[in-house]
Symmetry: C2
Subunit: 237 residues, 2 copies
């Protein structure tokens, strides 16, 4: 299996991959998994705030996401996986927009047909999904247009899982991430800029929540598009 | 000491650092060290082939460098550190241009005042030079506009050395590189795309040469500019 990562959001995404896993471990792709686990039928990812508000109004959907780590005005939910895990969203649709993760998902969907959102809480499910393809691109959301330690770590954990399934032909960035995955998840996530940024806004506990390996078997998988938004549904692997 | 790395050449270089170390371990910054160790008084780095040819003609200098890993037409020397180590360049000036490393050095010199070229062969010297500043930016040359495993590893080795000297305030990318530095130098360099690319052109032995830690105490340090080129001289640390 051919595996490569693009760890910096400043790099263009290469074509020629059958599937892509988008990773924004602190916190968008972790939260996305919990919103679907909480029962939401569909999760619509969209780039702009106004687009998200219009889409939610048209669909009678809940609005989730963040700017600067906190929920924008009028949003029903933030970008906290701990919050999402406590909800019952049975039968609801959620429209979500975040600073880095949403943009990464939109970019990945431009160049790759099969897209899912991966994190540490569903790293095993991500591996089982990805193992069905002959090539995989791992796309890190990063932070402010730069490589982020937490996303590189989670990508490494997924590459390590794939290595147990079969032989990998891994590029430079997938290999780098794999070396990083030997470190401790909590220590790395706590040390990352994304992890440290949650402390002053009182959301430091979210970091431990994001660091829990394989808490879920659900993976958000792209099933279609709606007015520029990506539509994800939960699938169990 | 504040330390951060920019591992992907696609990311802009941040300002606010006292010093920058540019790393293109396979092979430009390793070769640069050996050209100065061989006795060259000055090493001029320049971006374009024609610019390099003109500068060398004007200065009576030797021309060194590569395009696609091999010396361009009319060049006296390639970009091989093994070749450079066998030369006597006493009293000579060398004009050098390479695909990735030269560009990284030119970018670093735009935003940071004090610039040196670091590699594994002079990692200790790079650490001793950098320890004299209160902030350091490590700039990876990468490969074809993307993050390269070999440069990230060498940067990690330098960050590890700095950690032994004093307390570091390290950003995400410096921390990532530090984790990578636990791996074996030869194994990482051999596995990297840059290392693998040297095999078909018969230069695989250069990779082992680039992997030798602290073979030199010489560091190429920026001492001025000349018609758009960066002028480096060797300093012992």
């Amino acid at each position: 299996m051919k595996v490569e990562a693009v760890l910096s959001p400043a790099e263009p995404l290469p074509g020629g991959y059958a599937a892509a896993l988008v990773v924004d471990v602190i916190r968008a792709t972790t939260t996305a998994a919990y919103l679907l686990q909480a029962g939401a039928g569909e999760l619509l990812l969209t780039g702009e705030l106004e687009e998200a508000r219009k889409l939610a109004a048209a669909r009678g959907a809940l609005l989730a996401g963040e700017r600067g780590g906190l929920p924008p005005a009028g949003f029903d939910l933030g970008n906290s996986p701990r919050e999402a895990a406590r909800l019952d969203l049975q039968g609801r649709t959620v429209v979500m927009t975040t600073t880095n993760g949403t943009r990464a998902a939109l970019r990945a969907a431009e160049v790759v047909g099969e897209v899912a959102l991966g994190a540490l809480v569903n790293a095993g499910a991500a591996v089982r999904w990805a193992a069905g393809f002959d090539s995989l691109l791992l796309v890190a959301a990063g932070r402010g247009g730069r490589l982020a330690l937490d996303d590189a770590y989670a990508i490494g954990a997924i590459v390590a899982g794939l290595q147990e399934v079969g032989e990998l032909k891994a590029g430079d960035q997938a290999r780098l991430a794999l070396e990083l995955a030997r470190a401790d998840a909590r220590a790395i996530l706590k040390a990352s800029a994304a992890g440290r940024a949650l402390e002053p806004v009182g959301l430091a506990d979210d970091v431990d929540f994001c660091a829990r390996r394989d808490a879920l078997r659900l993976l958000p998988v792209l099933k279609g598009r709606e007015k520029g938004a990506l539509v994800f549904a939960g699938a169990v692997f």
